[in-house]
């Protein structure tokens, strides 16, 4: 029997070992064929951990601590599944590509960070894995090397670093509140409600993780970066990587102590995000961009769920949000792969891609009997019966509309060659993800005790899930009829305010450079020397 330590060790040793092997050219050239296997030990670890009490692994010398608990294990497992399928896709996608060595390195780095973030149990490990995944993903975003990818990369990186800054400060505040030297997240959570810096800490954490999730207005990078990446990378970016923000909120917000103000604020931001991104998303022609906006919208719903939990001190929000995110991870990952498959498939064989894609897409909107319906059911108790629940239902209508718009654009992006068919690697990974996106939520739903299967089949519940879909479909018809009157909105919508801001920054830099040029004159520097002597002397004199 393999112990948990061994499993965990192998989970991380595998991608790291592959990464080191990339130093060897022969291996590097063949690395993509191993992508599909790299996350499998992590999947096994997740399977081991499901339905067990939390288990902590502590490597004190390196300050590395891991925890395997339910939310972490579920997200770890589904993320590993997506990474594996996307890896299979990538191995076909990259065949013969001149830069595949480069891709391999960033893929494996991102993979390591992405898996690690779900099990990190102390501030250092979490920040390390979070930073690793954020920065390594830059390599995936810009991989195509086109000007569009490079622009996306810069916007991604600036915001990612901003997020790192929020988190670093938040973490330092958390750590400062902990008595003693501990950096464990558990200890940080225990002291957060009584910390003297509680409000700034929570604000910084929500900003940092919200940025990774794409909460409005920090979402601008997401609809730009995700579509710019190569297809398999888009799938993991939009599926697995943004869940780092979800696990962050889950890990760092104190759900057993009510923080009503912050809870309401998070809910409000979440719902705003959910609707805003639908409105922008339906104006987008590129199916990948539409999917990215849909990811933003869905993360808004998750944020709303967590916000309600935080406001009321309901710790069941954690499992609900986890399950919702797990479903979104699988479905969104699968749909991104579908975009790639469709682009390589001619009209003749299109239906066997489009029909499953439609099931998954509408599933995100809550189509009965899909994983999405289960997810909506799981979050229902947290959202309650009030206005928030109503708004959540309305957002399901919006999501349906957005996903139908996506299907429309997807069908239009098929290969012009009627007899073209996707390579076997593409098709296989897509089928795998489709099955996983349907099957895994069903399995988890019962196994983890989030709900009972009997509830799902009650007519009342089926109808409650179905009518938003129907209304959404009606709206979609309207969109097809009158959609051309919608204004064109660039990817990343409010990113356009960045242009004038950038000009201001450049002007400031010019000014600083001119000032510095003046200071480089010897007499000026000499005068400053005397001035500083007088200032320091004067200040000391004044101080007493």
């Amino acid at each position: 029997m393999i112990s948990a330590e061994m499993l965990l060790l192998i989970s991380f040793a595998t991608p790291v070992a592959l990464l080191l092997a990339c130093g060897w050219r022969m291996v590097r050239e063949r690395m993509p064929t191993l992508f599909a296997f790299a996350p499998l030990p992590a999947l096994a670890t997740a399977l081991w951990a499901v339905n067990r009490p939390p288990w902590v692994f502590n490597e004190a010398r390196l300050h590395i601590t891991f925890v395997l608990d339910m939310p972490g294990a579920i997200l770890l497992g589904v993320a590993a599944l997506l990474w594996s399928a996307a890896g299979l896709y990538a191995s076909t996608y990259l065949r013969g590509h001149p830069n595949l060595g480069r891709f391999s390195i960033y893929w494996l780095l991102t993979l390591t960070g992405s898996l690690g973030v779900f099990v990190a149990a102390d501030l250092f490990t979490f920040y390390l894995t979070f930073a690793l995944l954020s920065l390594a993903a830059y390599g995936l975003v810009v991989f195509d090397g086109t000007p569009r990818a490079r622009r996306a990369g810069i916007i991604y990186l600036v915001l990612a670093l901003l997020g790192e800054i929020f988190l670093l400060m938040g973490f330092v505040l958390l750590a400062s509140a902990i008595p003693g030297d501990s950096l464990a997240i558990r200890d940080a959570l225990a002291t957060l409600p009584t910390s003297p810096w509680r409000d700034p800490t929570v604000a910084l954490l929500i900003a940092g993780f919200g940025l990774k999730m794409g909460l409005v207005p920090l979402h601008v990078w997401l609809p730009i970066a995700h579509p710019a990446a190569p297809m398999p990378a888009s799938a993991v970016l939009s599926g697995a990587i943004i869940k780092a923000g979800v696990i962050g909120l889950i890990r760092f917000l104190p759900f057993d102590v009510p923080l009503p103000d912050w809870g309401v604020a998070l809910t409000a931001v979440g719902l705003l995000t959910a609707f805003y991104s639908v409105v922008i998303g339906i104006t987008q022609p590129n199916p990948k961009t539409v999917l990215a906006y849909s990811s933003v919208s869905q993360m808004g719903v998750v944020a709303a769920v967590l916000g309600m939990g935080l406001a009321a001190g309901q710790s069941n929000a954690v499992m609900a949000a986890t399950f919702y995110s797990a479903h979104h991870l699988l479905a969104k990952g699968a749909l991104f792969l579908a975009v790639g498959v469709v682009a390589a498939t001619g009209p003749r064989r299109l239906w066997w891609v489009l029909v499953p894609a439609a099931i998954l897409a509408l599933g995100i909107g809550g189509l009965p009997l899909t994983g999405g319906a289960l997810a909506k059911l799981a979050v229902k108790p947290v959202l309650g019966d009030g206005r928030v629940e109503l708004l959540a239902t309305l957002s399901a209508i919006g999501t349906t509309l957005l996903m139908l718009h996506f299907l429309h654009r997807l069908a239009a992006s098929a290969s012009p060659d009627p007899s073209a068919s996707a390579p076997i690697g593409f098709a296989l990974s897509w089928m795998l993800m489709f099955v996983a996106a349907i099957g895994v939520p069903w399995t988890l739903y019962g196994v983890t005790g989030i709900g009972v299967y009997d509830d799902v089949l009650q007519p009342k519940i089926l109808w409650a899930a179905l009518w938003p879909i129907l209304i959404g479909a009606g709206l979609a018809l309207g969109l097809w009829r009158w959609g051309r009157y919608l204004p064109p909105i660039p990817e990343g919508d409010i990113v356009v305010v960045g242009q004038p801001a950038l000009r201001v920054v450049v002007r400031c830099e010019d000014a600083l450079e001119r000032v510095e040029g003046g200071l480089r004159q010897w007499p000026v520097a000499g005068l400053f020397m005397l001035l500083l002597i007088l200032i320091l002397g004067g200040v000391m004199f004044h101080g007493y």
Partner: protein, 311 residues
């Protein structure tokens, strides 16, 4: 007002006037000549401050060697096109005001210095018998604070290496050449007459430094000045920098000092300590070798980087 004070005030005013003139005069060569005069006047002030050792050093090094160095440089740069403009009037005014403020602050501090002044003189005197020396300054330089003197001798080496490193690659291994222009008769005469006396004075300063004013640096400075004079007048050539004996001469002083210092760990239980009873002979040995090394180093510092191009 006593006569001595009147002399002091006169001397001060003269020094300040020469200093101002040195800064203000337009021609660089004249300014350097002013600086030499300033250095000699300053040596007088040092005498008035009852610091004959410093006065000797100031005269030999501060005025003599530095003057020689700067005169040479000014002569070479005389034909240079002057492309530098002085900073604007406003800037000069600001500089003047700030300098005056700093000076005023310093003046206040000078006036606020404690009275009676803290001093190490009693401690120096109390321990001087242990070193066998008569000159307390030499006691400080070679016993109490021997590390400073050792480092001082060492500091000359990177400075000299720095000067040498300015040679072009092809000139490496050549000899420094000091002659700037055709030496005139007066200089040659001076270089013929002065050195015999200078060398005697230098050796005397070094030898006598243990008990009377003088010592390795002063002696070395005088010797170096004589050598530099000879080189400038073209009466002798400096040796090529690659000569092994030259390198030995340069490091000998520091090396002997270092070896005796290290021996102190074994024989006198501290680095740079002298075994009881042997202090004076060891110090004299160090001074002698140090004088030679310092003279060579200072002379070569004036002589500049090596060159191979014929004059």
């Amino acid at each position: 007002m006593t006569l001595a004070l009147a002399v002091d005030i006169g001397l001060t005013l003269l020094v300040l006037a020469v200093a101002c003139w040195t800064l203000a005069v337009r021609d660089t060569f004249t300014s350097v000549i002013g600086f030499v005069a300033y250095g000699l006047l300053l040596a007088l002030i040092w005498v008035r401050l009852a610091a004959p050792d410093v006065a000797l050093t100031e005269a030999a090094m501060g005025s003599g060697l530095t003057g020689l160095l700067l005169l040479g440089a000014a002569a070479r740069l005389q034909n240079a096109k002057n492309i530098s403009a002085p900073p604007g009037l406003a800037l000069r005014w600001v500089a003047g005001v700030l300098c005056a403020l700093v000076s005023a602050g310093l003046a206040a501090m000078v006036l606020l210095l404690p009275d009676p002044a803290p001093t190490l003189a009693p401690a120096v005197v109390a321990h001087l018998p242990a070193t066998g020396l008569g000159n307390p300054v030499t006691g400080v330089l070679l016993a109490y604070r021997a590390i400073d003197t050792l480092l001082e001798a060492v500091v000359l080496l990177p400075a000299l290496l720095g000067v040498w490193s300015l040679a072009a690659d092809r000139d490496w291994g050549g000899a420094p050449r000091l002659r700037y222009h055709r030496p005139d008769g007066a200089l040659t005469l001076l270089a013929q007459v002065l050195p015999p006396f200078g060398i005697i004075v230098g050796i005397y300063l070094c030898w006598n430094g243990a008990d009377q004013p003088g010592g390795a640096f002063q002696g070395g400075a005088v010797l170096a000045a004589m050598w530099a004079l000879i080189l400038t007048a073209g009466l002798a050539e400096a040796p090529p920098v690659s000569r092994r004996w030259l390198r030995w001469l340069l490091v000998a002083g520091s090396a002997v000092f270092l070896v005796i210092g290290l021996a102190g760990i074994g024989f006198a239980d501290a680095f740079l300590a002298y075994p009881a009873g042997y202090a004076k002979p060891l110090i004299l040995t160090i001074e002698l070798v140090l004088t030679l090394s310092i003279a060579v180093a200072l002379g070569l510092l004036i002589a500049g980087p090596p060159t191979r191009t014929p004059s």
